[in-house]
């Protein structure tokens, strides 16, 4: 049987893109981790250190394709998770087998994470609730689907979320499950907040302080809900936890702020509009993750457990 050859950059990117295409509902981080697992299977390295280096290189390649925070955090967590085993086996192939098994275990766990989050969160949606959400998040969609399946009646307001008007996709998906939905302008968040009962958003990354990185406009929404005293809930899977600690908007690294193509092509970023913003933990009420329902200060606790 001929062993498949080691993946180079193009194959990596192609595999990643295929994964994204075949299952559009899958998180980009999950696709990245699948790709990394395949890369691991095909890797021809002779040493553990070499293996780690090549996995890091692969993660960097994927981050260049899709510069979201989740891809980089997912990649790092994958690396952590598989090397957490005591790699004391003398035989490299045995080590690799163990790592592959753990990789598959990790993948299995995170594929179930959205269901876990939905199970935790849907109880917070009461009958007759009015929910505000931002842009298009598949996790939020899953939560709302679960709530609808539990025969709860609620209405949803979605922000249009320029510049890519992702909010409209969310609205279509919600209409398909017969949830009454209204698309509002990004500028109308303050206006609509007096009518809503709670705000639920997804996250692209959850940072060490307990804050989140999400589509631009989230920070605004959080500040307004704080002013109106409405609960601001975040739903995120645990592989989105990332070892970053921004102090303010400027402190978020550029590689996350802009799309990957923009980073490659444009030389002067000060003209470009960032795609994400940072919401500090003081504005967030609760985070729903597959590790449980956490307060923002507990996120650091979980991160320490994951990373230390």
């Amino acid at each position: 049987m001929q062993q498949p050859s080691k993946m180079n950059e193009e194959e990596l990117v192609e595999y990643f893109r295929t994964q994204m295409r075949t299952d559009p509902d899958m998180a980009s981080a999950v696709a990245a981790i699948r790709t990394l697992l395949e890369f691991l299977r095909r890797d021809k390295g002779e040493t553990i250190l070499g293996l780690r280096e090549s996995l890091k290189w692969a993660t960097d390649c994927l981050t260049e394709v899709d510069s979201s925070v989740a891809v980089s955090s997912g990649g790092e967590l994958f690396l952590r998770f598989i090397s957490l085993t005591s790699l004391e086996h003398q035989d490299l192939s045995r080590c690799k087998k163990v790592m592959e098994e753990r990789g598959e275990l990790f993948l299995e766990k995170i594929s179930l994470s959205r269901t876990k989050v939905a199970k935790l969160c849907h109880t917070f949606i009461k009958d007759g609730a009015k929910i505000l959400t931002h842009s298009s998040s598949r996790v939020v969609l899953r939560v709302l689907e679960k709530a609808a399946a539990e025969k709860k009646r609620f209405t949803v307001y979605v922000t249009e979320s320029q510049p890519d008007t992702a909010g409209k996709q969310m609205a279509d998906a919600l209409r398909r499950i017969n949830v009454p939905v209204t698309v509002v302008l990004d500028a109308a968040v303050g206006y609509v907040l007096e009518k809503v009962d709670l705000v639920i958003v997804g996250a692209e990354g959850v940072v060490e302080s307990g804050g989140i990185i999400n589509k631009i406009g989230t920070y605004q929404m959080a500040v307004c809900s704080k002013a109106h005293n409405k609960p601001f809930y975040v739903v995120a899977e645990s592989f989105k936890f990332v070892r970053l600690y921004p102090l303010n908007q400027q402190d978020v690294p550029d590689r996350f702020k802009y799309k990957a193509d923009t980073l490659r092509t444009v030389s002067d970023l000060s003209d470009e509009h960032p795609m994400i913003d940072y919401t500090p933990p003081s504005l967030i009420t609760l985070l729903f993750t597959d590790l449980g329902v956490l307060t923002p200060s507990a996120v650091s606790d979980e991160l320490i457990k994951l990373y230390l």
Partner: protein, 559 residues
Amino acid sequence: MKRESIVPAACAAVTYTVLCHPHHHTVFIVLTDGPGNKDDITRSKNEGKELSKEEKQRLRKQKKQQKKQKERKNEKSETEKEKTPVSLLPPPRPVATQKAPSALPAPASAPIPVPASAPFHSSPAPSPADKPAKSKAELKAERRARQETDRAAKQPGSSSSGIKTKVPLSELNPVVKRLPEHVQVDDPAVVKRLAKKLERQQIPLRSDYGYKVSLFSHLHQYSRKAPLTQQLSIPSTVIHPSIVRLGLQYSQGIVAGSNARSVALLHAFKQVIRDYTTPPNEELSRDLVNKLKPYISFLNQCRPLSASMGNAIKYIKKEISNIPSQCKEEEAKTKLLTCIDRYIEEKIVLAAKAISKYAIEKISDGDVILVYGCSSLVNNILCEAFEKSRKFRVIVVDSRPRLEGREALRRLVQRGISCTYVLISALSYILPEVSKVFLGAHALLANGYVMSRVGTSQIALVARTFNVPVLVCCETYKFCEKVQTDSFVSNELDDPDDLMVTRKGKTQLENWQDVSSLGLLNLVYDVTPPDFVDLVITDLGMIPCTSVPVVLRVKNLDQ
């Protein structure tokens, strides 16, 4: 004057205890997030004196119970680890009770529950007038304690709070918590006890000086003009000369600053160990610890021990008592000396390097950084950042009477960093220009509060209003398992004469002692709540202020 403090549970399943000083009739609240019981908040009004005869009897009964339960092995479960013990720097107690080993670092101790009006063991003078009022509180306390025992019985392996519950002595501090004497100075019985203890250790007692402001009358206030060393006989046989020198350096302020004091202490201890010889029929591991106790009392008298010094002492005592008995003396001594060197190297020097590495990531070009006073760590960070060619300028904020900012200014300007110097009264004027605030810390408390030089909380507060990020830099060895929510309970009062200033040949406050209505207050420390602090940089990484208990737990697991 009733004061209430409620401590919200920042982390799940952590038990907090707030100790408030009894004399100011403060409310004593325990927030227990025990295993599966998040709503157990009990309040107990502590009116008047603490112990009544019934409570003393109860205490005696509990002690007997504990002795019976000493064998019971408690699993070192997570929940137990997460309970923050309230050990306010327990002074070394030469009293030969079984609880002596409690002076050694215990990873977790029983949090003090409500009925710990008992730990205020100080004055057993019951006030009959308060008895009827207290019996209600006692009943409540007893009921609650009974609930705790039931819960403890249901959950083997987790130690819930309570003097009444069975807790193995080996793993927890003495269940009857004693307040350290240095916050009970207005209690004559405590002072008498301290005097007796010092007499036994042959250390002179330092007398308080001057009128103390009533809110702080429970703290010591010494005069710098009367150092303890003047009362020592020469040659002093009890106290090692390097310790005498160290005590003098502390009390005169020659060695100041948390890191400097700890390092000086460790070096002095190294000298003590070098000069030590085991007396015949004694074991080094036990005798040396006993030898160190009077030294620590002496240093405490010269200047109250800091949290970092407390942790260093705990470490040394642990190392000494872990020396196997068959170890030869020379070998044991070299081992101890290398331990101390390693502690200094790891916890202070390398930690500073790690913290600089993280902190430099947070300094960007064009930053205007505000620092307060003189923190060796912050100065180190700024110098390192400057070496790495970051372009920034510094604003040094200073305050009387210590004027430590001048030292920081001197160090920074010497390196070539452009600095501005202001006094703390100009803070709100200068803050709009500032992009970040870097603060040092004296200690980080278990509830996330930052204890630092007085004025720090002011800076954090004003910075928060201007939306300027506040970063605290602190090594992990300064993390303390104490809990404090205000700056009154436990603080240090410096010499009030320092506040006198001579201008144009006239000293205005020269005769302040004669004015009966005048009191001078020279505080040294204050606590900053975690809401004002955005980020804590430690050698373990960058953590939010609320994660300090997590680090403490992780550290205890490592040990």
